[in-house]
């Protein structure tokens, strides 16, 4: 009986810790993403083989950005409830959105640090990292890798303006 209460208290503690700390961290991460995205807005990333309107691409290098991200305890619990009824799992949507944007930003930062202003043929891969325990309760996380080819152009990068 007492043991049951202790267990319940422990779970509630983890849930509230996950909720408050997780929410704060998510807000901070989103603010950080927005400011870095605004700063790197001029580094164009496209999934196309070449940049429309620009010719004379040269000095290509492969740039990558990767991030491993984990979901918090509260969200895992909330998603678990959602799995009973089906529908949109918003808890997972934000975590994957954050991971993708972070990976793309890191790729852009690598290119920008070397003086590149355009990345072509961008590919984004998402994978689930193996849980350390077979019952699925171990550490589980997502990995997102963004990679592309950073190129320079002979004519100045001015033709396609990003809105």
């Amino acid at each position: 009986m007492i043991e049951g209460f202790i267990n319940l208290g422990f779970t509630l503690g983890l849930l509230s810790l996950g909720y408050f700390v997780g929410q704060t961290r998510e807000r901070r991460h989103y603010a950080n993403l927005r400011s870095r995205e605004a700063h790197l807005n001029h580094v164009m990333a496209v999934t196309l083989r070449e940049m429309p309107g620009l010719s004379g691409a040269h000095q290509p290098i492969l740039v990558t950005g990767a991030v491993c991200i984990s979901i918090d305890y509260f969200k895992r619990f909330a998603a678990g409830l959602r799995f009973l009824f089906g529908g949109r799992v918003a808890a997972y949507e934000t975590i994957i959105d954050r991971a993708r944007r972070e990976a793309i930003l890191r790729m852009k930062e690598v290119a920008y640090a070397q003086g590149y202003q355009a990345i072509i043929c961008v590919r984004v891969e998402t994978s689930r990292i193996a849980s350390s325990r077979n019952d699925g309760k171990g550490t589980a996380a997502m990995e997102v890798v963004a990679y592309g080819t950073a190129v320079r152009f002979t004519d100045a990068l001015s033709a396609p303006q990003s809105a």
Binding site: H58, P60, I69, S70, C121, E125, S131, G138, A141
Partner: protein, 104 residues
């Protein structure tokens, strides 16, 4: 060695094709990192230890692919792709592949 994710090397011509080259590595997670990640699982967010580990593994896979290309006499790998898969509980495979070519 030039690595690109495009089918051609911008600004250069492909003169010879050597075929598919690949490199892979399987890495297991460090127990200490796993415990730290276990705590991170409560509050969520980036698992820095894992990001580093996978970054190192990816470099290893790419360097294996590059040495394979070099042994064929290639000086570039085009259409490079990455794939990650979990082969067993606690281990991830990093795989890089592409087409080895000679460019001028």
């Amino acid at each position: 060695m030039i690595l690109v994710s495009t089918e051609t090397v911008p600004g250069m011509d492909i003169t010879e094709v050597f075929g598919l080259v690949s490199g892979s590595t399987v890495r297991a997670k460090h127990i200490g990192r796993d415990i730290a990640a276990g705590f991170k699982n409560i509050v969520g967010g980036e698992l820095t230890g894992y990001t580093e580990l996978l970054g190192e593994s990816r470099k290893e896979a790419v360097s294996r692919m590059m040495s394979q290309a070099q042994s064929l006499g290639a000086n570039a790998v085009v259409n490079v792709r990455f794939a990650t898969s979990s082969v067993a509980a606690g281990a991830s495979e990093l795989f890089a592949y592409g087409t080895a070519v000679k460019v001028q």
